[in-house]
């Protein structure tokens, strides 16, 4: 039986290959998976194993020739004995995606042009019909990192979430009042983030388990409060870390956070500035979302989500009042943080925000 040997597809974006060397000559016998020829594409040389056992009876393209993927480059004759076993051998070769070669097209498809590309499972790409309305793009390095990180976190931690409602009216007013002062005195824009970082730091000191991580059967309590602040980017997401956040004044913290966020957008963060976080704050409310249930930033055990702030009618002292309200969510790792602890931590963050000490500004 005659078996065609085709130029294999070595990658989704590879359309052709240059034959650099034939390891076998016409008349030589080869066993299946024995190297038959070598090809070169871009910066890759590849050794192509024979798709079947047999005698090499025809070489269609000499070394040096560049050949499109799936074109027949040689023909093998499996002898009488081998032919008897060729039936089972051919499907076996097709199943064995372990070899880089594309399996030969079925013998019926004698003409190379008749060999449909879909018979090349060696190509990792899904071959799709012409005109299919999709566009395939490789993930960026950052996208891949985010994807791996998120899945890894879901696999690692027992995620549970708690949700609190916080009256932000005082802080909203304070921020309005101090915004021009900050611009003038500190040369930086006072945002809401420093208020959250400050309230979180105070509560983390009271509940050190929230600032911990899990290492095997140990719980590792982190003495430093290194607060990651998630920054949304057009091309993804990054979490720069405010190191020893509890040691900074509100002005210092504001400058630090703004500087990190700006450099994150300018792609100028140093590797050290996105590492070593012990707790993360993320802001899913930025586009008006009420609240999010974020994924924990490993190896941390909790992540605080800041919802959108909006005016709502609420009951204050048995009267209906208009207040600036916000949902505060936290996802935590139930392996080490129980609901009672998480809730007391959140209650403390809530109190810290509602009763924020104006003298700190």
């Amino acid at each position: 039986m005659r078996v065609d040997v085709v130029m294999p597809q070595m990658g989704e974006s590879i359309a052709e290959g240059t034959i650099t060397r034939w390891m076998k000559q016409i008349g030589d016998t080869v066993s299946r998976d024995e190297p038959l020829f070598e090809i070169s594409t871009d910066k890759v040389d590849a050794e192509i194993p024979s798709p079947a056992a047999g005698k090499l009876i025809e070489i269609k393209n000499a070394a040096g020739e560049t050949v499109p993927v799936n074109q027949v480059v040689a023909v093998l004759e499996t002898d009488a004995n081998a032919a008897a076993s060729a039936g089972p051998a051919a499907p076996a070769a097709a199943e064995k995606a372990a070899s880089p070669q594309a399996p030969p097209p079925p013998p019926a498809a004698a003409k190379p042009a008749a060999a449909p590309p879909a018979t090349a499972p060696a190509a990792p790409a899904v071959s799709f019909a012409p005109g299919a309305r999709i566009e395939r793009q490789p993930m960026s390095a950052m996208r891949k990192k985010i994807a791996e990180h998120m899945i890894e976190s879901r696999r690692t931690s027992a995620h549970v979430s708690s949700l609190y409602e916080v009256d932000m009216t005082r802080i909203v007013k304070m921020r309005e009042a101090y915004k021009p002062v900050y611009q003038e005195r500190h040369g930086t824009k006072l945002t809401m983030t420093p208020f959250f970082v400050k309230a979180a730091c105070d509560a983390l000191r009271a509940w050190p388990i929230i600032n911990a991580s899990v290492d095997g059967n140990d719980i590792v309590y982190k003495k430093d409060l290194n607060i990651g602040v998630a920054v949304a980017l057009d091309w993804g997401l990054i979490v720069p870390v405010v190191k020893n956040a509890d040691e900074l004044s509100i002005a210092g913290m504001t400058r630090k956070i703004n500087d990190l966020a700006e450099r994150a957008r300018a792609k100028k963060l140093l590797p050290d500035e996105v590492q070593g976080g012990t707790f993360t704050i993320t802001n899913p409310g930025i586009f008006g979302n009420l609240f999010g249930l974020p994924i924990i930033n490993q190896p941390q055990v909790a992540i605080l989500g800041i919802g959108g702030i909006e005016k709502r009618p609420v009951v204050v002292d048995d009267a209906i009042a208009i207040r600036s309200m916000m949902y505060l969510s936290m996802s935590y790792d139930h392996r080490v943080v129980d609901g009672a602890v998480a809730d007391q931590f959140l209650a403390m963050v809530k109190k810290g925000l509602q009763e924020f000490d104006e003298s700190l500004l």
């Binding site: 990658g11 590879i14 070169s40 910066k43 890759v44 040389d45 194993p49 372990a98 990792p124 390095a141």
Partner: protein, 239 residues
């Protein structure tokens, strides 16, 4: 995560490194050895890819011999390259599987790993479209040339320029790209970075880009090479 056995072998003559790779490729294909990243340096050597154009070796044979530079043909992709002291050479011997069985994907993964390794030193490196390798601005920081054997087992790999002495490159047109200069971590940082120093972070970054976790070991590699590991870097050094 899968573990990539990493070892720094110190200075290894080119021919010996080729032999070590061939034996590891066989053993990895048969499942007798773990996927491995060999890290080493070479004595001065010019290696030719199968597609090397003759004019890309600039140095005369006599001058080359006088300078103690060896010449070898390498069964890898790419054009001519130079290896020498001050350059961290990495040979990942790994069995690609699943969606990673894509030659271009593999090149891009190696580039990603090397860019991350440079970033770990505070050096911003990038790809240049159409030119495989890793670049700092317009200058070449790392070269890549690989081989994929039966069973999608890789060999050859990358060379990251660490030290400041780049004079060996004068003997060649790097990778056949005439108008591009070479640079190194030391040149960029203004302090001497040795291949030994670069090895741990490079191993971690390349392992991660290939979907592995770097694990430092000497047993399997040393047994295969008859060569001890001269410097087992601590994984704690990795970022």
């Amino acid at each position: 995560m899968k573990r990539l056995l990493c070892a720094f072998l110190g200075r290894v003559p080119y021919a010996e490194a080729v032999g070590l790779q061939e034996s590891l490729v066989d053993r990895v294909r048969r499942g007798e050895a773990a996927d491995t990243l060999l890290l080493l340096t070479h004595p001065p050597v010019i290696t030719l890819g199968r597609t090397t154009k003759p004019g890309h070796v600039l140095i005369e044979d006599a001058a080359r011999v006088a300078r103690g530079i060896e010449l070898h043909e390498a069964g890898r992709g790419g054009d001519v390259t130079y290896h020498g002291p001050g350059q961290l050479v990495g040979y990942p011997i790994v069995a690609l599987s699943g969606e990673r069985r894509d030659a271009h994907r593999y090149l891009r993964d190696l580039e990603e790993g090397l860019i991350a390794a440079a970033a770990a030193f505070g050096v911003q490196a990038s790809r240049l479209a159409g030119l495989t390798g890793v670049w700092a601005g317009p200058e070449k920081l790392a070269a890549i040339g690989v081989r994929i054997g039966t069973g999608w087992v890789t060999s050859h790999g990358f060379a990251l320029n660490c030290g400041s002495d780049l004079s060996g490159f004068e003997a060649i047109v790097p990778c056949g790209i005439g108008d591009r200069a070479v640079t190194s971590l030391s040149r960029i940082l203004g302090r001497e970075v040795s291949p030994e120093e670069a090895a741990p972070r490079t191993a971690s970054a390349v392992a991660a880009a290939l979907g592995y976790e770097a694990a430092w070991g000497d047993g399997a590699v040393a047994a295969g090479s008859g060569r001890g590991v001269s410097w087992p870097p601590s994984p704690g050094d990795a970022p």
